[in-house]
């Protein structure tokens, strides 16, 4: 009997807790606010009942009657996807598109689920649908073929131009510009270290994901940025063969530091490398980190100098603006510093004196066109074995492939070298600079 009473008491207490817990918080939250948006998203076919729930927006305002779908490979917990969520949100705010008209689909893998989701969004009446991951693009293409009246934008994709689909688009920021500027930051630090004698060899390491153009373009720009300050700087690249692998990225950083690198750059999405650099820094090593995507000061408060970042809002806004105006959206759209589509994160406390000035000068040069990242007078290459580019006797590149989309070493489109520099992300939005310049060694 005693046991039974005890059990009863426990039950009563549990129920009491649940009841109190839910009651205490209910009055604070008026029922309608949580349910009204739910209702509107639930009945996407009828835009009429949305009006009272949203702010009093004039009905003729463009954008209130369009629906936008966004397919994300992860959710808000991933820095990369968060940048896209923020980008879409900001672009919509600036254009006066109520967020009720935007449907986010989270955790969509790069397989048939992407096609299912894209088709489902098109069914629901979305006029324009974005996907944020590279591997989404062929599945977006399948949906694009099925829904010719809907625009499908595969961010970071590179197949739209060759797909033969007029409603499949690609967008990509000029990430190489922010990498160049982050290289300037690293170069300033390197120069300071060499001037005070703590470093004699300007040796740079880079943790890359894959040996692909996107990565090659990025680390070359990074080294050229460093060389703009310390011309004799040289770099080793260690690949991890994964976009996101904190352990492998940390190990690669350690391997590079073991070889004597004093600056560790990265093109991989985790905080593995900056964390490893911070640990080495704390153990007394002279070594600094330059990150990507997100501000790395949280994981490497002393070692992080800055991070190269994309401002997706600019690209989303430009695309949506054209869409709202009913204009033709370019198949490939890329922009950079001139449109504020790329930036670097706040400078860390370890940055050398005068860094901000050097950074501002670099941005100014990039914006007014006086500075080109891949200026052929600034780097040399060994003669090409495969004929994809031509060098003169000094090793200066005089001619190079634009696109070689299928790996058959046949130039698919125009010449990439224009006016003495390699014109990146113009023939298509995704990077295609894949020259291996002197001074960079790929370790694996």
């Amino acid at each position: 009997m005693k046991k039974f009473l005890a059990l009863l008491l426990a039950l009563v207490m549990v129920f009491g807790l649940v009841a109190c817990g839910s009651k205490a918080e209910t009055p604070a939250e008026p029922e309608q606010t949580t349910e009204a948006p739910a209702e509107t998203t639930q009945t996407p076919a009828e835009p009429a009942p949305e009006e009272p729930a949203t702010e009093p927006e004039p009905a003729e305002e463009p954008g209130t009657d369009i629906k936008i779908g966004v397919i994300l490979v992860h959710d808000e917990n991933s820095g990369y996807d968060m940048a896209h969520i923020e980008g879409v949100t900001q672009a919509c705010q600036e254009l006066g598109i109520p967020m009720e008209n935007v449907t986010f689909k989270y955790n969509i893998p790069e397989d048939e689920t992407c096609y299912d989701t894209a088709a489902d969004l098109a069914d629901a009446g979305c006029g324009i649908i974005f996907s944020d991951s590279y591997g989404h693009q062929t599945h977006m293409g399948q949906a694009a073929a099925e829904f010719p009246d809907t625009i499908f934008v595969a961010c970071t994709g590179d197949l739209a131009a060759g797909s033969g689909l007029s409603n499949l688009k690609n967008i990509f920021p000029y990430t190489y510009e922010s990498r160049y500027v982050s290289g300037v930051v690293a170069g300033m630090k390197l120069k300071e270290l060499m001037d005070d004698g703590s470093v004699t060899d300007p040796y740079v390491g880079y943790v890359g994901a894959y040996p692909y153009a996107e990565v090659v373009s990025g680390y070359t720009a990074f080294l050229l940025g460093i060389q703009s300050i310390v011309p004799e700087a040289h770099m080793d690249v260690q690949y991890t063969n994964s976009w996101y692998d904190p352990v492998a990225e940390g190990e690669a950083a350690n391997a590079l530091m073991g070889r004597g690198c004093v600056i560790i750059g990265q093109h991989a999405d985790s905080t593995g490398a900056p964390s490893a650099v911070q640990a080495a820094f704390e153990s007394g090593k002279v070594v600094y980190s330059v990150g990507y995507n997100i501000d790395m000061l949280a994981v490497a408060p002393d070692a992080a100098l800055t991070s190269a970042q994309n401002v997706w809002a600019v690209l989303y806004k430009a695309t949506l603006e054209k869409f709202l105006a009913g204009e033709e959206i370019p198949t490939d759209f890329a922009c950079g510093a001139a449109d504020d589509a790329v930036k670097i994160s706040d400078l860390g406390s370890s940055c050398a004196e005068g860094t901000q000035e050097a950074v501002d000068a670099a941005w100014a040069g990039l914006k007014d066109g006086s500075l080109h990242v891949f200026d052929t007078s600034k780097f040399t290459c060994q003669p090409a074995a495969d004929g994809s580019y031509v060098v003169d006797e000094d090793g200066r590149v005089t001619s190079a492939f634009g696109l070689d989309s299928n790996g058959d070493w046949v130039n698919d489109t125009g010449e990439a070298i224009v006016d003495g520099y390699f014109e990146e992300s113009v023939l298509r939005s995704a990077p295609y600079f894949a020259l291996r310049i002197d001074g960079i060694t790929e370790l694996n």
């Binding site: 989270y106 299912d116 591997g135």
Partner: protein
Amino acid sequence: MSSPNVHHEPLIRIAKRDGLAVWKNWLIRLVFVLIALLLSGLFIYAVTKLNPLKVYAAMFEGALGTKRRVWITIRDTMMLLCIGVGLAPAFKMKFWNVGAEGQILVGGVATAGLMIYLGKSAAMSTPVMLLVMALASIVAGAVWGVIPAVFKARWGTNETLFTLMMNYVAIQITSYCVALWENPFGSNTVGQINPQTKAGWFPRVFGLDFGLNVIIVMALTIGMFLYLKYSKHGYEIAVLGESERTARYAGIKPSRVFIRTMAISGAICGLAGFIAVAGASHTISTSTAGGRGFTAIIVAWLAKFNTFVMLLISFLLVFLQKGAIEIASQFKLNDFASNVITGIILFCIIASEFFINYRVIFHKRKEAGSK
């Protein structure tokens, strides 16, 4: 200390019950599903302050809201069911085949490879191509299943570890093939195979989007039900599953049954890889199996290897998963919330099995007094 006449009976006693009417079984299950919905509702309300009915409505809409969603739910149900059907014979003989992931992947790799190479020449018509791909995937899956079975039969290796490790080998093979077949060059993804010609893609059957998926899997489901229930092989599997010694005593050769059954199990999982690649994704990646090889173990066990019950459970799991995507989108409840709901529902289903097999007797005062 206590004298025999002051026998202290516990508050709650659990007794095995047998021979409960079938309708009562299902009533208990239904009650527990309702309890699960109630508990999940409480959870949803307590944590998010959303109306649970609205959340359930959204889940229903996500899984079955439009014709397309209905077909996608059916397609994914068939996929999970196919793997479950493949695992059923292995688990019924207590051969812990946790290697379905690998068996699916090798089947998928074989399919994707043939799709790419046969699609290039375009010399074969789609039905012939599908047949070749299906056979290749069956052989690949069977080989992947037989290897651990042979080792267990010959040297008594632990099949759980062995099949698990075979998964990693399959994942590495898949990675290698993805790098080999990457398209476009330098992307490290295969992308959709033959998007223009659609060579090797499942055709629409009877005007249905995924008609062929349904036909193949339902045929397997019925076939496996009959095989396990009425064939001599099925009997051998059942006996071996209960006791290896009994099986030996009855003249059943365990090693032979292990190898034969694992060949079947692996072959069906390999075929599931074929369906996944040719009938759904039209691409290959290391996530083609996507954990379904493990989820299907739950399907097989919960259904106690009855393939028709597996259909129900597969549907339930896929329904929950599709609903999860929808509530994430509508209410910003990310997948952790839907995982909790799925957990509550699965937990209640398992609990219902307990109450079907056992009854709980509360201690009665009168009974104790009369003693």
